[in-house]
């Protein structure tokens, strides 16, 4: 009897591991193809297509990117600056609002909570949002066009953080600090904020990934200011140009002159690799926090 059960358990372990290895391979293989393509000689790429076993290896694409002082370096720096500013500002306003909402004694707490939650249910949609930012706040073709619309703070993060303050930061400690003579700012900075570090890290991560991956703000709000492009905008623009030329190649006689402005396939792949690189590099360090965050707020997401 016992022997049979061990056998079944063993079979399940083998079966489960095989399935998960397949899923893991499926998750990674496209990235590997991208990486290999970026190290493939361009003429081999054009001849044989994207391949896991390139005919000829080459690091030309990376040489090109890092030596020719092109738009990639600028876009890369832009992405880092945007992400850093977005995380710092977004985290600050999210944490402060959530902390306030967690104060049970606060007059009008219910009303303010409702105002926050309501934004999860109903929004002004793309057109009014666009007109508001473009016409009222004039963010078009400025850094604020990348920073402000949508990404800085969202109700979901606020509510997640609020429930952490309510359950994870005991009221008694905060009240004790207050009784000891700390003012509200000190209580927040010295006691509540350090105690909330796990959730702060998670929210910072959510905001940071949101900014790093965003292409939509640049797409909508940057029309002339291409010097403000982030890496995502740059990649997006290249893809569009290729698509445009392919769809119109029969009608445009000077297609070749247009093609010259689009970098070689391997260079495009190398740029995409650069776009993923920061995420892959920090991923091992952040994935625990990330999983925890999703679990915390998950049911409500």
């Amino acid at each position: 009897m016992k022997r049979k059960r061990v056998g079944e358990e063993g079979r399940f372990q083998i079966f489960g591991n095989i399935i998960m290895i397949l899923f893991s391979l499926a998750a990674v293989i496209p990235l590997v193809l991208l990486l290999i393509s970026s190290f493939t000689d361009d003429s081999a790429l054009v001849r044989n297509g994207y391949s896991f076993f390139p005919e000829k290896w080459s690091a030309y694409a990376y040489q090109y990117i890092f030596t020719s002082g092109n738009s990639l370096t600028r876009a890369y720096i832009m992405s880092f600056v945007l992400t850093a500013v977005g995380v710092v500002v977004g985290l600050a306003i999210t944490t402060l609002l959530a902390y306030g909402l967690s104060k049970k004694f606060l007059p009008a707490r219910g009303v303010i909570t409702f105002l926050v939650v309501f934004t999860m249910l109903f929004n002004g949609d793309l057109v009014p949002t666009y007109m508001n930012y473009a016409n009222v706040f004039k963010v078009k073709d400025t850094f604020f066009g990348l920073l402000l619309p949508g990404l800085l703070m969202n109700a979901f993060n606020v509510m997640m953080m609020k429930s952490y303050f309510v359950s994870g930061v005991p009221d008694e400690i905060l009240e004790a600090a207050y009784i000891d003579g700390a003012n509200e700012y000190q209580t927040f900075l010295k006691i509540a904020f350090p105690l909330a570090k796990p959730i702060v890290a998670t929210i910072a991560l959510f905001i940071g990934i949101g900014y790093w991956n965003d292409w939509m703000n640049g797409y909508v709000y940057l029309s002339k200011a291409t010097h403000l492009y982030t890496i995502q905008n740059l990649l997006n623009r290249m893809m569009q140009n290729i698509q445009f030329l392919q769809q119109n190649s029969s009608t445009i006689s000077g297609a070749n002159t247009g093609l010259a402005s689009i970098p070689a396939v391997s260079v495009r792949m190398a740029m995409a690799v650069c776009g993923i690189l920061p995420i892959v590099v920090i991923y091992p360090f952040i994935q625990n926090n990330f999983v925890k965050g999703i679990t915390l707020g998950g049911v409500k997401g």
């Binding site: 372990q13 391949s51 800085l152 509200e184 991923y283």
Partner: protein, 333 residues
């Protein structure tokens, strides 16, 4: 953390202690109310930046939805343009677009909900039963695609599907002596491609909640079942799945509440905005976007947007009501 005893007071700060006590009372005398308000002011100041952002980002655009009921001219602006009744909507619904985008949005979401559910639960169950050290690694690896931007994903898909250089045409169909396929010109493949890409991107994310729920189950059920000689399959179907049912229902209801919204990046970037694919890739979100940015037809875009917001609002509200009936703790509000 809740059972921490109150910190002992080093000195009798009587005044402050009274203020704390005041806050816990329901009925306030004017003097006490004043103390309360005085204490609340710093908190309001702390909340102010966040609230200002909500006003700018969420509340100021809201009145703009009246645009959908106006005959808009840029010169007059939203508020001074003349009213147009429901004409923008009758125009929208008289085109075949309205039906196509509604159908696409709903059908894709239904497919996503069902397929994502099956795979997420299956992966969560497998991960929860695995004993080796690799478990954690699997979970991290399958979550990775969730962190990639839509632009990057479109590059990855393009590497496989590009007509000239794509991996599938060159390295799979080529050696099989099959004709290359113009993936980006043939609409019939795309429902499958999009469902697949969505699954690939979301599986690591979707299984997390199920996995953490399963890990929270009382292990004694399983021990009892094992002693009674229940097979692994029996344990999964008779213990894990029934216990998981409330979570499955909750998450699915939440997803149904968002059935009128689509992942803009997935439907816009991954098919590379290819016109030939619009019949199967156009959703309400991409339609609103294209009408605004590519066609500059502001009222059409606004009408479709309001259509989405209103129906979406009703759906989210009803889904949440249902969830609150079933399990008040999982409700959004």
């Amino acid at each position: 953390m809740g059972n921490l005893s109150p910190a002992p007071l080093p000195l009798p700060f009587r005044e402050r202690r009274e203020k704390v006590a005041v806050i816990k009372e329901k009925k306030l005398t004017p003097a006490k109310r004043k103390a309360l308000i005085k204490r609340s002011i710093p908190i309001y100041i702390m909340m102010l930046p966040g609230l200002i952002y909500l006003v700018i980002n969420n509340y100021m655009p809201m009145p703009g939805i009246i645009l959908a009921f106006k005959k808009y001219t840029a010169k007059l602006g939203i508020y001074r343009s003349p009213w147009n009744g429901l004409k923008n909507f009758t125009y929208l619904f008289s085109t075949p677009d309205a039906f196509v985008i509604t159908r696409n949005t709903i059908l894709y979401n239904v497919a996503f909900i069902i397929i994502n559910l099956i795979f997420a639960v299956a992966v969560a169950i497998i991960l929860s039963e695995l004993t080796g050290k690799l478990k954690k690694a699997y979970q991290s690896i399958i979550l990775l695609p969730h962190l990639l931007s839509a632009v990057i994903i479109s590059y990855l898909v393009f590497a496989f599907l590009s007509a000239d250089n794509g991996f599938i045409n060159n390295s799979i169909l080529g050696p099989l002596k099959k004709d290359p396929i113009g993936w980006y010109d043939n609409a019939k493949y795309w429902p499958f491609i999009l469902v697949f890409v969505n699954l690939w991107k979301g599986i690591g994310y979707n299984c997390i909640i199920y996995l953490s729920t399963i890990l929270g189950f009382d292990r004694s059920y399983y021990e009892a079942a094992r002693i009674d000689g229940a097979s692994k399959w029996k344990q999964i179907t008779k213990i894990t799945l029934p216990l998981l049912r409330p979570t499955i229902i909750m998450l699915s209801l939440m997803a149904v509440g968002r059935i009128f919204y689509s992942d803009f990046g997935l439907f816009y970037q991954v098919p590379r905005n290819s016109g030939a694919l619009f019949p199967v890739t156009n959703t309400i979100d991409t339609y609103v976007y294209r009408a605004l940015i590519e066609q500059g037809d502001i009222t059409k875009s606004a009408a479709a947007g309001v259509y989405q917001s209103l129906v979406g609002f009703i759906l989210i509200l009803s889904a949440n009501l249902l969830v609150r009936k079933l399990d008040p703790d999982s409700a959004l509000f």
